[in-house]
């Protein structure tokens, strides 16, 4: 292929821009939409965008897990809950209350701090792609049951407690 006078954007760059636009759009819908159900759908779009970013970064496992857990389970439950609460369903609820100005200032400051931190840290760059996806998953699994077994078990305990708590809360005391 002959050299071009200007660098063409690579496929990854183009796809990344599209995905980033989708993510930002979804996030904006979450906070700006007057209808709660639209906000939930915006959340789904944002989750999808984040998952795609993981996949572009060749972390397919994390990306697909993101879709599985956040889009497939959590967001479905959110939409489900909204559909069960009739008042919130069709009426327009205002996304702003008295504190929106304060919240805007705090979030933009947090954003600036995050940008400053991310751009100042010298991130270690990986020279070559990690060979096999299979190896990554196997490595993750091994790490869970060896070095990180205590945090893993604690997390499992936490989830179990949350599950039991949800059942206790939802039980119908006669």
């Amino acid at each position: 292929m002959p050299e071009l006078p200007f660098p063409l954007p690579t496929v990854q760059q183009v796809i990344f821009s599209m995905v980033a636009a989708l993510t930002v759009f979804g996030a904006l819908v979450v906070v700006l939409a007057p209808n709660l159900f639209h906000s939930a759908l915006g959340l789904v779009a944002a989750f999808f965008g984040v998952a795609s970013v993981y996949i572009i970064a060749e972390a397919e496992f994390i990306g697909v897990s993101q879709v599985l857990i956040y889009v497939g389970a959590i967001s479905t439950l959110i939409t489900f809950a909204i559909m069960l609460t009739r008042g919130m369903m069709f009426g327009a609820t205002s996304p702003r209350n008295r504190q929106w100005g304060t919240a805007a200032i705090i979030t933009s400051l947090t954003f600036l701090v995050l940008v400053a931190i991310v751009s100042s840290v010298p991130w270690p760059a990986v020279g070559e792609p990690i060979s096999q996806g299979h190896e990554i998953i196997a490595g993750l699994g091994r790490a869970f049951v060896n070095e990180y077994v205590i945090p893993f078990l604690l997390l499992a305990m936490l989830l179990l407690v949350a599950l039991a708590g949800a059942i206790v809360l939802a039980r119908d005391y006669k």
């Binding site: 496929v11 759908l41 397919e60 599985l68 497939g72 479905t76 939409t79 559909m83 996806g133 299979h134």
Partner: protein, 329 residues
């Protein structure tokens, strides 16, 4: 170079796949109507073309030329998005299904298994969006039923998939098909197949679990406000889901694109897609057979069956599978 490899080739492969699937969908409707007619001792479609073979074409033309009606009271953006979102998961799952030796459908990713689980998780969105945006109580009830049903049956489905994963020891579907299995593994898998098939029936909203669209109580459920090509898209999603899940079951339980006992596979690799298609047709017959034979359960029976029967069984099955893998493999 990059563009060619990353965009053009996958696009062509996807287009071929989509055309094949859409044709498959069209003739699946014919297949189902013919078979149902046979079960009912009728003739079925027999006017358009020989054996009614042109009937799907006539139906497609009719759906396309119907007037686009968008009711006034719907949430327009979501209403239009829903049919597309119903169809997309059914198609993108094919990205990881291996259709033959040497040509995996679109991508042989190392996480094929997870991909199937993830896409199964997002399948309910089309129905939920349709039901909500229609602004109609029947539609809403249908959508609520559908999402509750899909969440409930996804659990045992996921646990069964994890058991298969434990047996295979690999996330890649190509490796799953290629790897040799011991005889007890096959038998252990096939014991589970009927239960897995029940979960699949519930996931695809097929009869007898078609409670989101029960015509005798909910008009047409979430599809009530849809007509013309938009209705056809929902219809398409359901039928392509049938084809897709059949292909998944063929891959997981029946050796995918390979013939039993390793006949012919090495000599004629191009036979792969045809063998897979054959297995899919047999499994589709199963779907239609069930539809013709069984009545619809009540909604509470459906939920109780999932939570009190299938879930414990699938948990037990998973534990036993793990023990089997530890001690025999």
């Amino acid at each position: 170079m990059d563009w060619f490899e990353l965009i053009v080739i996958p696009t062509i492969r996807s287009l071929v796949l989509i055309v094949v699937l859409l044709t498959g969908f069209a003739y699946l409707t014919w297949y189902e109507r013919k078979l149902l007619a046979r079960f009912h001792v009728r003739y079925g479609p027999n006017r358009a073309g020989p054996f009614g073979l042109l009937q799907p074409v006539a139906d497609a033309v009719k759906a396309v030329f119907k007037e686009e009606v968008i009711p006034n009271h719907v949430d327009k953006a979501v209403y239009l998005l829903a049919p597309a979102l119903a169809l997309i998961p059914a198609l993108i799952i094919w990205a990881v299904i291996p259709i033959g030796k040497g040509f995996p459908a679109v991508a042989d990713v190392p996480i094929g298994f997870l991909w199937i689980l993830a896409v199964a998780g997002i399948e309910s969105y089309g129905v939920i969006l349709a039901g909500w945006s229609s602004n109609n109580n029947y539609s809403l009830l249908g959508a609520l039923r559908s999402s509750a049903q899909m969440i409930s049956y996804e659990l045992p489905l996921g646990l069964f998939l994890i058991s298969i994963l434990l047996l295979a020891g690999d996330f890649s579907l190509v490796n799953l098909v290629e790897a040799p299995r011991a005889w007890w593994e096959w038998i252990w898998l096939w014991i589970m197949f009927p239960l897995f098939f029940i979960c699949i029936l519930a996931e695809t909203n097929r009869s007898p679990f078609d409670l989101p669209e029960t015509e005798n109580e909910l008009v047409a459920g979430f599809q009530t406000e849809y007509g013309g090509i938009k209705f056809a898209l929902f219809f398409m999603a359901e039928y392509i889901n049938m084809i897709t899940t059949s292909a998944i079951m063929a891959t997981l339980f029946f050796g995918g694109y390979r013939l039993p006992f390793g006949i012919g596979g090495e000599i004629m690799p191009w036979l792969g897609p045809f063998i897979l298609a054959g297995k899919v047709v047999v499994l589709l017959f199963l779907f239609i057979w069930v539809r013709a034979s069984l009545g619809r359960p009540r909604y509470d029976q459906l939920m109780r069956f999932s939570w009190k029967t299938l879930l414990p069984i699938s948990l037990g099955y998973m534990i036993i599978t793990a023990l089997l893998v530890v001690f025999f493999k």
